[in-house]
């Protein structure tokens, strides 16, 4: 690609294939066209739908405000692509530069973008997971099925896992007047993402809204009746909860199985790529024709000591897709790094929760604005003497200021006098994150170390 005209040829008549036709895939395709890519573009997606948005599935859709099939993503522009929808990619031949499809077809590429995202982790006991009334929530179909069941007015909804998605589901159920029990293995809701100090606020919020919240317990089994409908959940503290709807919200699994044996650095923790979104192969050598974006990617971040981060964040999927698309058709000197500062939102129990940076890296927290008791506050997280993240509960307008502190690696505690003078804000306290080796339910940022190869992956040579 160096001045011999091959990049020009790629931009004019090359073949770009995108696997995973969702948020990241679509935004990448639009960016490619925006930047003048005139060759052929093929979008491969295993879901039989055009790209749609997922965040409304646990909010507007469960509230009954919008049907699950109404969240198709608006287009920034036409992408003039060949769409292969409803067909999963099943393999990759890196040497021959071909993607294999489930229907036996092979699609050749000059550049490949992998944006296969994640899927909901199912309830681990298969027979119980198959009971009628047991749901997960990731796709449009899952959203439609759960919304339908909620509209039937179940006697009780039982949510396993109080991460962001589980908490939003519980919130929507309460808003619809349904009885809800939430079981969380950790000490509080959201504890993996925001720590115990903020988790305690989230717990109060749930209880105040009538959620029967049980923390520090595990669900040991689900029980069905003779007709195969779920009827109860059994917990590790010996209790039993009668329920007719169970929503399993135990986080996500990366969609990388189709790459097994391909030689790409793909495994259960995602696909490692460099700061320019180029995928690593299993030997830790960066490829020059395969790019990664969105939830399936793990990429090193300059602000966080170049650790590989996996971000299950809407904004990350968009930003990383744009960078990957730009880099796919650029000379190496013109490539850009993916330096997006992690940011996330959630709305639950009437509270607008937003975070920037990586709170879960923090060891200390301080509340410079608002109060925990009022549930309107800013929490700032510190790590090794610097500001590493911040969270806002109904205080979103102030967050950009704290984002700048993260971006500029400002010292922690922050040097300015706390804006509101009250005891919470005076001094940092232990942010109270659980032992990272004990998994909580679905943190949305996963730190995955410095190794580009996934060590838990078994290396199966292709030949």
């Amino acid at each position: 690609m160096n001045g011999d005209g091959s990049l020009e040829r790629l931009r004019r008549e090359g073949r770009i294939v995108v696997v995973g036709a969702s948020l990241a895939g679509l935004r990448a395709a639009e960016t490619l066209r925006d930047k003048g890519f005139a060759g052929s573009l093929t979008m491969i997606g295993d879901e039989p739908y055009e790209p749609y948005d997922r965040p409304p599935l646990s909010k507007q859709v469960l509230l009954g405000m919008a049907p699950a099939d109404s969240t198709a993503l608006p287009r920034r522009r036409a992408v003039d692509a060949t769409w292969r929808l409803g067909v999963p990619a099943t393999g990759l031949d890196m040497a021959a530069r071909r993607v294999r499809l489930a229907d036996g077809d092979e699609v050749p590429y000059d550049r490949l973008l992998i944006a296969t995202g994640v899927r909901a982790r199912p309830w681990p006991r298969e027979a119980e997971a198959e009971l009628d009334g047991v749901f997960v929530l990731r796709t449009r179909e899952e959203g439609a099925a759960l919304a339908r069941r909620l509209a039937d007015g179940p006697k009780r909804v039982f949510v396993i896992g109080a991460g962001f998605t589980g908490s939003e589901i519980a919130s929507a159920c309460r808003e619809r007047g349904l009885s809800v029990t939430v079981a969380e293995r950790g000490a509080a809701p959201l504890v993996g993402a925001l720590g115990g100090v903020v988790g305690a606020v989230a717990a109060d919020l749930q209880r105040e809204h009538g959620v029967d919240l049980r923390c520090g317990v595990m669900v040991t089994s689900l029980e069905g009746d003779s007709s195969g409908r779920v009827r109860a959940a059994h917990l590790s503290d010996g209790s039993t909860v009668e329920t007719d709807v169970v929503v399993v919200s135990l986080g996500a699994t990366r969609n990388t199985e189709w790459l097994a044996g391909s030689g790409l650095g793909a495994g259960p923790r995602g696909i490692a790529c460099d700061a320019g979104c180029r995928a690593f192969d299993i030997r830790g050598i960066v490829t020059d024709d395969i790019y990664v974006a969105g939830d399936v990617a793990r990429s090193p971040h300059a602000l966080f000591g170049y650790q590989f981060l996996s971000l299950e964040h809407w904004g990350n999927a968009v930003a990383q897709a744009e960078i990957a698309a730009h880099n796919m058709i650029s000379e190496s000197a013109d490539r850009l790094p993916h330096m997006w500062v992690p940011a996330f939102w959630s709305s639950q129990f009437g509270v607008n929760i937003k975070s920037v940076g990586v709170p879960s890296l923090g060891t200390e927290i301080m509340v410079p604005q608002g109060t925990l008791a009022s549930r309107r506050f800013i929490g700032v997280y510190g790590y090794q003497g610097r500001v590493i993240g911040a969270v806002a509960f109904d205080h979103a307008r102030w967050l950009p200021f704290y984002q700048e502190l993260v971006e500029t690696t400002a010292p922690f505690p922050p040097p300015f006098p706390t804006v509101d003078r009250h005891p919470d804000g005076q001094r940092p306290m232990d942010a109270d994150f659980p032992d990272p080796s004990v998994p909580t339910h679905g943190p949305t940022v996963t730190l995955s170390g410095y190794s580009p190869a996934d060590r838990r992956m078994t290396f199966t040579p292709a030949h």
Partner: protein, 75 residues
């Protein structure tokens, strides 16, 4: 139908959209925003106003007339 999405990382809850196109955008709680991701064609004009008025330009309205280019399952 008009497809839309709000970048809620950007949204600051200023509520201009809810004021200009109340059939599509509603505030939920003190500063949360809920919106209908698929608005009626009749809302197009109001939507354009709302998205232009949003102080942080968080609202993306479909750039193309629906239905967009053919999306088929063709193999």
């Amino acid at each position: 139908m008009v497809r839309l999405v709000v970048d809620l990382n950007r949204c600051q809850g200023y509520a201009q959209c809810a004021f200009l196109a109340p059939e599509v955008f509603v505030m939920h709680g003190e500063e949360g925003l809920l919106y209908n991701p698929e608005a009626e064609e009749a809302q197009r004009e109001k939507l354009a106003q709302a998205s232009a008025a949003c102080p942080v330009q968080a609202i993306l309205v479909d750039a193309m007339d629906a239905p967009a280019e053919a999306v088929s399952g063709e193999r």
